[in-house]
Amino acid sequence: MRVLLVEDDKKLASYIEKGLKEAGFAVDRAEQGDEGLRLVLGSLYDVAIVDVMLPQLDGLTLIDRMRARKVLTPVLILSAKRSVDDRVRGLQTGGDDYLTKPFSFAELLARIQALIRRANHESEPTCLIVGELSIDLLRREVIRSGTKIDLQPREFALLEYLMRNDGRVVSKTMIVEHVWGYGFDPLTNIVDVVISRLRNKVDRDFDQKLIHTFRGVGYALKAS
């Protein structure tokens, strides 16, 4: 998997590069917009991470030009601007996802992997299994160790989202985006509440805990 990272902040870029390499990606880095455009037009990448504020050529123009040249590489936009308008503009220009600074590396990684899965048209599973927990997406059934667990729709959506991410940490923002959609206030501690309800139903009666909290980062569902 090859990733192009166009980011002018050296410290942040080298940190992301290091993390991505550890996760098994090959990373090319560009600090300026025009250089990034040259790279993305020159070779094939699985995903491009593009900062909006770049010297020489800004990120949105870069994406616009690469889309004009029919380069379909999925793009994750990084931006310090968090308003809905900015997000919409970024996605309309041809970006595939939008991540606001400051973000956690776990979230960046999860989003990149989601983009790659989407680009590769991975077939939609109808059933997800983690350890002894399985959920049937068609019948909307959750079974752990042979016992059926009743979940409310939001709880089901949250569990499905955690399981689809297959052990990767997802942030609270990502959970709110996927389970409720954009435009809900982060001030409410809603995610904590739903996670704790989910824990009660899924984990309480079992020794092996599946739902893990990563303080300051988010949540993950995994067997070990």
Binding site: R82, S83, V84, D85, P102, S104, R154, W180, G183, F184, D185, P186, L187, T188, N189, I190, V193, V194, S196, R197, R215, G216, V217
Partner: protein
């Protein structure tokens, strides 16, 4: 920021106004002078008609009653008239005012061929001229009536001189008047230029253009310009305050981050403590991010910089959406939430911001209501506004704190134990006011608090 200012452009309009005014003034003065000169001239030309009329009148009198009837020298009050009767032998029988006309030395002047003709006598002694009409009487004598035409020429000449003498001051007055008027008329424009220039140079928006309250176009411009300055000043001040507040409010959590990091770096610590500290740091950054976002929202709403995507929003629908979130919190806390929302109230509002406001308010109510308590949400219609009331059976707000609960980062004594940033109610107030509504709160330590939001209804509702 430095701008290059154009210099001297203002003199052009002033100059043009002066030139136009002076030109028009001088031209109309010249036309007036010429017309009056011509009219005086033609009046004086009528001299001959007067002489002729007098001649025929005298002739009749002399023919009927003889020379005596003309009376003694100076018989007439019209002493300016010259009257003379002369025999064919050039002997003067009668002469009015001899001392006045003697200088023409009639004895030496021939009289042949004067009958029915105009004649001009010239004085030998001075440059006096006498225009005379003559008629032959039946007895053969010649009756002459005339008038000095020196007087006429003098009048005209004098008039001409006067006119010429007034032309120079006239031009001067015209120019001066024009310049003065241009100066006065352009004074508001000049003031505007001076104030604008000073604002550009000093970046101080508290300057105002003096208003002469003349209620004319320029005065309107000045009033509008001042209003615009006021608006800009408010916005700039709001932005500056917001920036100061945000900078100030961020210092505390950053300080906390620093302390945690320093603590973690102590050499005696083992790995577990360091991991804990790092996790604390991550949580703290998350808090700072949320806080920064909320502070920016509050500042934008307060200064009017918040972009509201206004559409017709049904109040009831928004409340139900918010409740899908808040029900979890209520359930977790063991608080019963009841909603009495009548459908059909439409607000002209930003749906996202309304959700933000309601969820903060309801979350707040749940937070301060003990287990087993109630939160009631009700909507009412009051004239052209919608009322959203959130009533809780919570701990209430002490009277001393009730005014301060809307302040950012203010946390009452009882609320310190609760999670939160102390920004929720500030955001509620700022966003509601950005929607041209207002907030109100009543509280009682026995029965709990009642928060009400007043929001203007959309016109179609």
């Amino acid at each position: 920021m430095r701008l290059k200012l154009p210099n001297g452009f203002h003199t052009k309009v002033g100059f043009r106004l002066t030139a136009w005014y002076s030109g028009m003034f001088i031209l109309s003065s010249l036309i007036f002078s010429t017309v009056s000169y011509l009219s005086v001239f033609s009046t004086l030309r009528d001299n001959r008609d007067v002489i002729k009329a007098t001649l025929s009148q005298y002739r009749q009198r002399v023919e009927e009653s003889g020379v005596e009837k003309l009376g003694q020298p100076g018989h007439s009050r019209r002493t300016s008239f010259f009257t003379r009767i002369v025999t064919p032998k050039n002997e003067t029988l009668f002469l009015s005012n001899p001392q006045l006309w003697d200088k023409f030395e009639f004895a030496t002047q021939p009289i042949a061929g004067l009958d029915g003709q105009w004649h001009v006598y010239t004085s030998k002694r001075d440059s006096a001229l006498l225009e005379v009409a003559s008629v032959r009487l039946t007895n053969g004598d010649l009756l002459q009536v005339g008038r000095s035409i020196q007087a006429r020429d003098e009048v005209l000449e004098h008039f001409r001189d006067t006119l010429l003498a007034t032309v120079i001051p006239m031009v001067f007055i015209g120019l001066a008047g024009g310049a003065f008027l241009a100066f006065r008329a352009l004074r508001p424009v000049r003031n505007l230029t001076v104030v604008t220039r000073s604002i550009i140079e000093t970046s101080r928006f508290d300057a105002r253009v003096p208003d002469n309250r003349a209620h004319d176009e320029l005065s309107d411009l000045v009033t509008l310009f001042n209003l615009m300055l006021e608006k800009i000043e408010t916005l700039v001040r709001g932005m500056k305050d917001a920036l100061d507040n945000v900078a100030h409010d961020l210092r505390t959590p950053i300080m906390r981050l620093r302390v945690i990091a320093e603590e973690a770096l102590r050499p005696s610590n083992d790995d577990t403590i360091r991991r804990e500290a790092l996790a604390d740091c991550l949580e703290e950054t998350e808090r700072v991010t949320v806080m920064l976002d909320t502070l920016m929202d509050i500042s934008e709403a307060e200064t009017g910089a918040m972009k509201l995507k206004l559409e017709d929003v049904e109040l009831c629908a928004v409340i139900n959406e918010v409740m899908t979130l808040c029900n979890y919190a209520a359930e977790a806390k063991g608080v019963t939430v009841t909603v009495k929302a009548a459908p059909g109230f439409y607000l002209r509002a930003d749906a996202f911001r309304l959700r933000q406001v309601f969820s903060n308010l309801v979350d707040n109510a749940i937070k301060y209501t003990p287990e087993g308590g109630r939160v009631e949400i009700e909507t009412l219609k009051n004239n052209d506004e919608a009322l959203l009331i959130v009533r809780d059976s919570g701990i209430g707000i002490p009277i001393g704190e009730i005014k301060r609960i809307w302040e950012r980062l203010y946390r009452g004594d009882k609320s310190r134990s609760q999670r939160g940033l102390g920004l929720g109610l500030s955001l509620v107030k700022a966003v509601v006011e950005a929607h041209r509504g207002y907030v109100d709160v009543k509280s009682d330590s026995q029965t709990g608090s009642i928060f009400s939001l007043h929001l203007p209804l959309a016109s179609k509702a």
